[in-house]
């Protein structure tokens, strides 16, 4: 049903424009009396100290890697999910091998402690 994509394209353009309408309207009507204090970064009422750039923990990266891996897996599973009814038992076996390999990686993650949040 590719005929429907123009609708999505038009809706995409509309939704891209939409958030800028209130932003621009707000910019036009809102009062602007900036002072140094107002424009400073909030930090519990004190002067902001130091850089925000702290080195984040490697844990975040591990989660992101695991996420990419499982996301790819899920994307692979979707075409299978809509066609496995037509193929039957063979599809079941092929997919269980695929899933088992991935579950193995999840278990490895788990045992290795990569899913722990310290």
């Amino acid at each position: 049903m590719l005929i429907n994509y123009p609708f999505i394209a038009v809706f995409f353009i509309a939704s891209v424009i939409f958030p800028f309408i209130p932003l621009i309207m707000g910019y036009l009507v809102a009062p602007k009396r900036p002072t140094e204090g107002k424009k400073s970064t909030y930090e519990c009422g004190l002067e902001a100290i130091g850089d925000i750039w702290v080195q984040f923990r490697v844990q975040y990266y591990l989660y992101a890697i695991a996420f990419v891996v499982f996301d790819v897996e899920v994307v692979f599973l979707y075409p299978w999910a809509v066609s496995f009814g037509q193929i039957g038992v063979f599809a079941l076996i092929a997919m269980s091998i695929f899933l088992l390999i991935l579950v193995a990686s999840l278990i490895y993650d788990w045992r290795k402690g990569a899913l722990e949040w310290i």
Partner: protein, 414 residues
């Protein structure tokens, strides 16, 4: 040629009406939530602006428009201004494929209830676009929702905002996996990715029965995906002073607020579409045939359209009520427990649900039998999960730090 002009006009009207309807829905959802929360906390809630507080959203909007538009000095201006828009755009885009009713303007009402594969004669103006991969589209758009929050956190150049933003992105990606795996099982039941066809497949039985486990997983991970209570770590007021939007004010803040609530309606609508039979309800076909008999096919079609929209609305409001109820009832979870739950409970359970569904559907080809079997299996799995989770000792990850203690000299044995 005229035909194309008419089509384009219908399309433009649809798009504009949809965008306006969503923003109205957002406005009244805030009122709905505030009134309901107030009731649950034994308060009255906003009731002064208009009858029963009916004009409160308009008053809020006017107030936000006239708030001073402060852009802090240290922010990354471009990204800082882009981030609220990036949050709202995906929230709106989700709505492109959601069928919120069935009003066939190309013919009679029966096209709504007929097999879509053999009946191309359906022009449903209550659904913007029925694409072949609608469900995947929903997931793809949900997955780009993470950027608004992450970039707001980074661009604000504030420590709280940065922490809130980075926490949010880790939370969102973790629960997105559980979400898409839960949806996968529903897709397996339906055998299609088109949202209209998913509803057609639920004409005999709503998927909430065979996919009870999937539905529960969807609701939990959906709440986390919305960063709402009890998973609203991102905006933990006490620790992060509202997190990623700490440096945002006036209309820019309103847009973040808006994206959260639009997404909340959207997630409810997805839940209704995938699990609760969408716009369909028993008796709609009867209504259609009655109205067609009385006043012709066009009236019958319109009657079915409006009634189905009403049914959809009622179902969505029920799920929204559930979201507000959860917010009123449960305290915020701790961050490590949140990640723990997403990866060690929801994802394995969702994969188990997929495996379970595959086996039952292939082994028991009869739809009724495998649905009942899956329902029972879902109940069993949930019961086992409940028992196991209540026996697991709390916070196992904390113990690791305590393990590395300085060695205490042993007491001299007397």
């Amino acid at each position: 040629m005229d035909d194309i002009v008419v089509q384009v006009l219908i399309m433009l009207v649809q798009v504009v009406v949809l965008v306006l309807a969503i923003s109205t829905g957002f406005a009244y959802l805030t009122l709905f939530e505030r009134r309901l929360l107030a009731r649950m906390q034994n308060r009255v809630g906003p009731n002064r602006a208009g009858p029963g507080g009916f004009l409160q959203p308009a008053a809020d909007a006017v107030k936000l428009f006239f708030k001073e538009d402060v852009i802090p000095t240290l922010v990354d201006r471009g990204v800082y201004l882009l981030a609220p828009a990036l949050a709202v755009i995906p929230a709106l885009l989700i709505w492109a494929v959601i069928p919120f009713g069935c009003l066939n303007i190309a013919g009679d009402y029966q096209a709504c209830f007929a097999d879509p594969a053999t009946n191309p004669n359906l022009h449903n103006i209550f659904q913007l676009a029925d694409i072949d991969i609608g469900v995947l589209y929903l997931l793809a758009i949900t997955s780009i929702g993470v950027y608004g929050i992450t970039l707001a956190g980074w661009a604000s150049n504030s420590k709280y905002a940065m922490l809130g933003g980075i926490r949010a992105s880790a939370q969102l990606i973790s629960y997105e996996l559980a979400l898409s795996s839960a949806v996968l099982a529903a897709v397996m039941m339906a055998g299609t990715l088109s949202t209209h066809e998913v509803i057609y497949q639920q004409m005999t039985m709503w998927f909430v029965i065979p996919q009870l486990l999937g539905f529960v997983l969807f609701l939990i991970s959906g709440t986390a995906e919305l960063v709402r209570a009890p998973f609203d770590l991102v905006e933990a007021e006490q620790e992060l002073t509202s997190g990623y939007n700490a440096e945002y004010g006036s209309m820019k803040f309103a847009l973040f607020f808006m994206s959260e609530y639009i997404k909340m309606i959207a997630i409810s609508a997805i839940a209704v579409t995938l699990y609760l039979g969408g716009w369909n309800a028993p008796g709609l076909e009867l209504l259609g045939s009655l109205m067609t008999g009385m006043a012709g096919p066009l009236v019958g079609s319109i009657a079915v359209g409006l009634a189905s929209f009403l049914v959809f609305l009622v179902k969505v409001v029920l799920i929204l009520f559930l979201f507000v109820w959860m917010r009123a009832s449960w305290p915020r979870v701790r961050y490590d427990k949140l990640m723990y739950m997403g990866w060690k409970w929801l994802l394995p359970l969702a994969l188990l649900n997929v495996a379970m569904t595959a086996v039952f559907v292939v082994v028991l080809p009869d739809a009724l039998i495998h649905s009942v079997a899956l329902f029972v299996a879902s109940l069993v799995v949930m019961a086992v999960a409940y028992v196991v989770s209540s026996r697991v000792k709390p916070a196992p990850s904390r113990s690791r730090i305590k393990m590395v203690q300085p060695e205490v000299p042993r007491r001299p044995s007397s």
